[in-house]
């Protein structure tokens, strides 16, 4: 029952996503779909790790699934990180550049 209550609270938290303005049932069902879609697709992507190591993929997928399900609602957190203020966009762009550079320099020959 605890998980059910948690999911029920998610719907209440979506109200903040659409403020100002009323929250319609289509919007809430869309956000719930997004929530489930996000969890399932991230877990599914984690299975791709089996091409590196099967054991790693199994452990990682299980841990990811548990962490994601216990940290719902994800969509409000995701949306705050992806609003279009210049600072956040620049920050993520430069972080991505640094990560790609580091990954290529030290890991480019490993794959």
């Amino acid at each position: 029952m605890k998980l059910y209550d948690q999911i029920f609270n998610v719907v209440k938290q979506f109200r903040k996503l659409f403020s100002p303005g009323p929250v319609t049932n289509a919007d809430v069902s869309g956000s719930l779909t997004a929530e489930i879609f996000l969890i399932v697709s991230l877990v599914l992507t984690a299975i791709l790790l089996r091409h590196v190591n099967v054991l790693l993929a199994g452990i990682f997928t299980l841990v990811l699934a548990i962490v994601l399900i216990y940290s719902i609602p994800l969509i409000p957190k995701f949306k705050i990180e992806q609003e279009d203020s210049l600072e956040k966009m620049l920050f993520y762009a430069i972080i991505t550049l640094a990560l790609i550079g580091i990954f290529m320099y030290w890991g480019g020959n490993l794959v």
């Binding site: 289509a26 697709s41 992806q82 762009a93 990954f103 480019g108 794959v111």
Partner: protein, 484 residues
């Protein structure tokens, strides 16, 4: 008739300059713009396949190492270039037609920007010279900023400035990557660089070569609007005028495929290249569609959907087989047509209601039935419903990833298609089928005829490509066989 190849770039470029110079003669400008816009899709259809060397400098055979060198900027024109330039030319014609019929007094600078963008993407597709491509990429970025800033929507200047600031991070990095390649090979011609890499003249495992891939890849992410640039791309789509947004997304798709094909020719021997592309494509699909599900502004929603669909193109190219690259390029062609149809259709609704919030709309089916039906078919095509064109390319992608041994990616692609369908049906319901809110004024507002005409033309292409996909896929498959 290889003289027609440079004309594909020169005609829109000259038209842009002439129109901005003589924009005070209103009628002459209108007629001239219309004539040039008709020429744009016709020139690539008439031209023969072949090469064009600027300045007439033919390739030189170095007899010592038995390799060809290309001293001139080379334009190569094959079936792939023909079909994409034709598609962009047709779209430019439709957009300019909508613009010319919408306003009595046309603005010269705006037409200048539209033609400049078309010339830039045409040159990016044709060219075989990586620095030439970078120059036209910068011109394209300026044209895109101009198209966004010229719209009358709130916060369009802010969005244009944000795009420019991000662009001045992204494009110098691409230039730095080109500089690394130049330092390694001493050439900027893609054929020469690819030959040097394949013949072992360049050490493919050296850090400089890997860093050049990282930097050009970052520039590609900026050009195509994959994460972390998906927010700004969807933002500029939503702040441009609807017909401008239809053209902007085609510019994005074409700059994406032209840069990725160049990268593919140079870096295909590195396995990590394909890993990077697949990773960012999957990220784009997940983020684009899940953010589209939570939007209430329907232009922003279509923007995020367009970014999500870009992931399919990247996926096809990242898998790296002949069949998957064909599928990815075919998906690119479909996306240009379908997303343009959706942008123009939703733009027609904005035109008729002056409202972008789905919560305040409803009951439009009774007032605009033609637009509603065409939008429905376009949305179904985007979600991949047979027998429309989106179905064919997505089916090819699913088959390709299955035959490469990645069933997870096939399942993910199908899930993203279903989520796209959910997004579309949800928006369609709230806009067209839900009862009309009391305070929504709809009487006496008509959708422009030119928009319905443009949607009709695009819809015919969608249906024809869905029924006869072989017309395009055979030619693309031959092209891909040439670069693998």
């Amino acid at each position: 008739m290889n003289e027609l190849i440079p004309l594909m770039v020169i005609v829109p470029l000259m038209a842009a300059l002439l129109i901005s110079a003589f924009s005070k003669f209103n009628t002459v400008t209108k007629i001239f713009a219309f004539v040039v816009a008709i020429c744009l899709p016709i020139i690539p259809l008439l031209s023969n396949y072949g090469f064009h060397y600027f300045g007439g400098y033919e390739p030189i055979l170095d007899s010592a190492v038995n390799m060809m060198y290309h001293p001139a900027i080379t334009y190569s024109f094959t079936f792939l270039q023909q079909i994409f330039i034709g598609a962009v030319g047709l779209l430019t014609f439709l957009v300019i037609f909508i613009y010319l019929t919408k306003y009595r007094k046309v603005s010269g600078p705006y037409l200048f920007l539209l033609f400049l963008g078309t010339a830039a993407v045409t040159a990016m597709l044709l060219t075989d010279d990586i620095f030439h491509m970078f120059v036209f990429f910068e011109i394209l970025a300026l044209a895109q900023v101009g198209i966004v800033a010229a719209s009358s929507i709130d916060y369009s200047y802010e969005m244009a400035l944000k795009y420019m600031v991000l662009g001045s991070i992204g494009s110098p990095m691409m230039l730095l990557g080109i500089g690394f390649l130049l330092a390694l090979t001493g050439s900027v011609n893609v054929t020469d660089i690819a030959a040097a890499v394949h013949n072992g003249l360049v050490d493919a495992t050296s850090p400089v070569f890997l860093l050049s891939l990282a930097l050009i890849f970052f520039g590609w992410l900026y050009a195509s609007g994959l994460p972390p640039f998906h927010t700004i791309k969807s933002g500029i789509y939503s702040k441009a005028e609807p017909h401008g947004a239809a053209l902007l997304q085609s510019f994005t798709v074409i700059s994406m495929i032209s840069i990725v094909l160049v990268m593919f020719r140079i870096y295909a021997s590195l396995p990590i290249f394909e890993v990077l592309i697949v990773f960012f494509s999957i990220l784009a699909m997940i983020l684009g569609v899940s953010l589209a599900l939570t939007q209430t502004d329907f232009r922003r929603m279509i923007g995020f959907l367009a970014v999500g669909e870009l992931g399919f193109i990247g996926l096809g190219i990242g898998l790296g087989t002949n069949f998957s690259i064909t599928a990815g390029l075919f998906q690119a062609l479909n996306e240009i047509v379908i997303t343009a149809l959706l942008f123009i259709g939703f733009g027609a609704i904005v035109n008729a209601t002056n409202e972008v919030d789905t919560r305040k709309l409803g009951g439009l089916l009774a007032y605009h039935p033609k637009v509603a039906i065409m939008l429905l078919i376009g949305g179904l095509a985007m979600a991949g419903v047979p027998p429309l064109s989106g179905f064919q390319s997505k089916l090819m992608l699913v088959q390709a990833s299955l035959s490469c041994g990645f069933p997870e990616i096939s399942i993910l692609a199908i899930m993203v298609s279903i989520a796209t369908f959910v997004v579309f049906v949800k928006t369609y319901y709230t806009m067209f089928l839900k009862p009309k809110p009391n305070d929504l004024e709809l009487e006496g507002k008509e959708v422009p005829k030119a928009m319905i005409f443009a949607m009709g033309v695009l819809l015919i292409i969608v249906i024809l490509l869905g029924i006869f996909p072989d017309v395009v896929t055979n030619g693309i498959s031959n092209f891909v066989g040439g670069i693998l």
